[in-house]
Symmetry: C2
Subunit: 379 residues, 2 copies
């Protein structure tokens, strides 16, 4: 594990019980908004530099779309958790190594969103046209033509690859020392591999509409729980030189919270307000997304309801009336309420993991706050 | 720049004139076959390990396809050039740092092939079904259905992302020291960015069929000359701590040779033997690939020939008879011969760059040999 870097911006790494911030009765809370801002600054400067040094001027709209997507917001859940992981391991401050690692995770997330939207045929992301839709404008073929659609998807594929490549370059910019890099890079690779393989497992299940409850939970574990919560926490903690005890607390908190996060996402995908989520509520239904919500409904549905779900979910031309019927069945079968209950029980399980082992106070407070934020959100 | 790593496996880095292998009258030639084998061993062990440690057993066929694609051969042009770059900078041997860097480049190339085949809708690669075709077999939907096609393309997209991610992980396995990593990683990033942006510039031009000769040359410069020849040489040289003189020789050799490489590729795409190239000769025509060959033909074509090219090239349903007509026009307009002449003049320009500045003898010999291999090949 890595010794603390020098400088006043980082505290001492420890799994021990003494001299940690949590020993103070009122630790100074982590400034999560400040962390978000700093990570965003790094991402924007990096992309500004890429735009200045483009190997070909015609690629400008491509990279500009990436800059717009990243500037359009998002919750920055992963970078924030990465920073909390650092503090959970007893460090303080926001040194450049940490911020660049957090920015690398967010850049990978941009790549994942761009490629996911191609796969899911989603037209909207963060309230804006998704990359494969927006980039059609660069094609001279008639809008709506097959060539224009092909061009948009191909250009978005290339843009996602650029973002994926650049996530590594951002890690380098952090000037991690060799030991930090050796600890951190394999874990960043694991985060990416798990997310991608989770995406593939979801592909296998998409459109099958079964009442099998295990598959959605397994997809959620890889694609969300590990990718969104556990691994970002681990990355910040490992950068800080955390020992196994801190890492296992992060897992005990991260996996159930990540499950709850995805279950909330599924509810928002079905019942959310598109003006808040920035995403239409038809997409998940049209795609036939294999959610636990749908599997529970299918397992409880009467034969006519089940028939109706099979007909409507996965229909790429599903309209608002059809979506309303699906929602009705998700509600009357009790699936919606059951998922709400599961979100709450998973949230409690995550928070209980914090009670069982003492993390530095500011990190523990931030994690409790995150448990609220990610499970009780509207967007 | 980086000091030489310790151990008997690496010689001394120098831009100077004394004590370099080229001072010997008969330097021992580089064993390029041995380099290929060693890089292949690293790639296969890496993928075997990935298969052992899969986050989910259902992802096995995905990673197995990547292993098959890589095992199916290819010329390993980039890894070999990376190794020659190392020797061009005065080093000897094949230390693990060099082999892992070379393997990282080849793994990125696997990602690029998989994603290119989605974009180009190519059914065959290295004589095998391309990833997006092969992976359709994992989908339960009816073969030939829209769902099966969508699944194959989506799965191949995810697999290319995994390979792209893993190209970085391979670099790490080389245990480069911090100085080597700081020199090498930005350049690996540049190689990837240039290749991807070249791919996008090609997308913009695809199907437009103009007699503009500059655009194909610009695409070739980014997508092939830099990506396939110049940057791999630079990477090996920079790992070895090369100074600007060696790097500029690599560019003076690499850019014209890379142009010649792509021009040969275009001729093989139009006139090659599919059993040797592992790629049908209809693909480039059907796709409307914006080659210099086509642009020259268009610039020289009589009105009826021009009309014929506009009709046939870019037609996704082009048949063998149509392809024969295109080939006839490419030949009678003299475009084919003109491209042959350009290949030869570019090859000579590349070789002349070696004469102007003395590189270590074994590296110079290997580069002369490569100039033959890449321009006079049949596959």
């Amino acid at each position: 594990m890595t010794p603390p870097p020098s400088g006043t911006d980082s505290g001492s790494a420890a799994d021990g019980q003494t001299h940690l911030p949590h020993a103070c009765p009122q630790p100074e809370p982590l400034d999560l908004a400040d962390i978000r801002r700093k990570v965003e600054d790094i991402l924007q400067s990096f992309l500004d530099e890429r735009l200045r040094d483009l190997p070909h001027h015609q690629a400008r709209p491509l990279v500009e779309h990436l800059r717009t997507l990243i500037a359009a917001g998002g919750k920055r859940t992963r970078p924030v958790l990465c920073a909390i992981g650092w503090h959970a391991a007893g460090r303080s401050g926001t040194p450049p190594q940490l911020l660049h690692l957090a920015a690398a995770i967010e850049m990978f997330h941009a790549a994942a969103m761009i490629h996911d939207d191609i796969i899911d045929r989603s037209a909207i992301r963060r309230g804006l046209p998704s990359a494969h839709h927006a980039l059609r404008a660069q094609c001279t073929a008639a809008p709506g033509s097959d060539t224009s659609t092909w061009f948009g998807a191909s250009a978005a594929l290339v843009l996602g690859d650029l973002a994926l490549s650049w996530s590594d370059q951002l890690l380098y910019r952090g000037q991690l020392d060799n030991a930090q890099l050796q600890d951190t890079h394999p874990l960043l690779d694991t985060l990416r591999s798990e997310a991608l393989i989770g995406c593939y497992i979801e592909l296998l299940a998409t459109g099958r509409q079964t009442d099998d409850l295990d598959t959605p939970m397994e997809i959620n574990r890889l694609k969300t729980a590990k990718y969104t919560i556990e691994r970002p926490l681990h990355l910040g903690a490992v950068l800080a030189g955390a020992g196994p005890a801190v890492l296992s607390t992060c897992s005990a908190y991260g996996i159930p919270l990540g499950q709850a996060f995805q279950l909330r996402d599924d509810l928002l995908g079905a019942f959310g307000d598109p003006t808040a989520t920035g995403k239409p509520t038809l997409d998940d239904f049209r795609e036939g997304k294999p959610t636990l919500l749908l599997a529970i409904a299918l397992s409880r549905a009467a034969p006519d309801q089940r028939e109706c779900l099979h007909q409507l979910v996965g229909d790429p031309l599903l309209d608002d009336a059809g979506a309303a019927s699906v929602r009705e069945i998700l509600t009357v079968t009790g699936a919606r309420q059951k998922v709400e209950d599961l979100i709450e029980s998973h949230r409690l399980q995550a928070v209980a993991a914090l009670d069982e082992r003492t993390l530095p106070g500011a990190a523990a407070t931030a994690l409790r706050q995150m448990a609220e934020t990610v499970t009780r959100r509207y967007a």
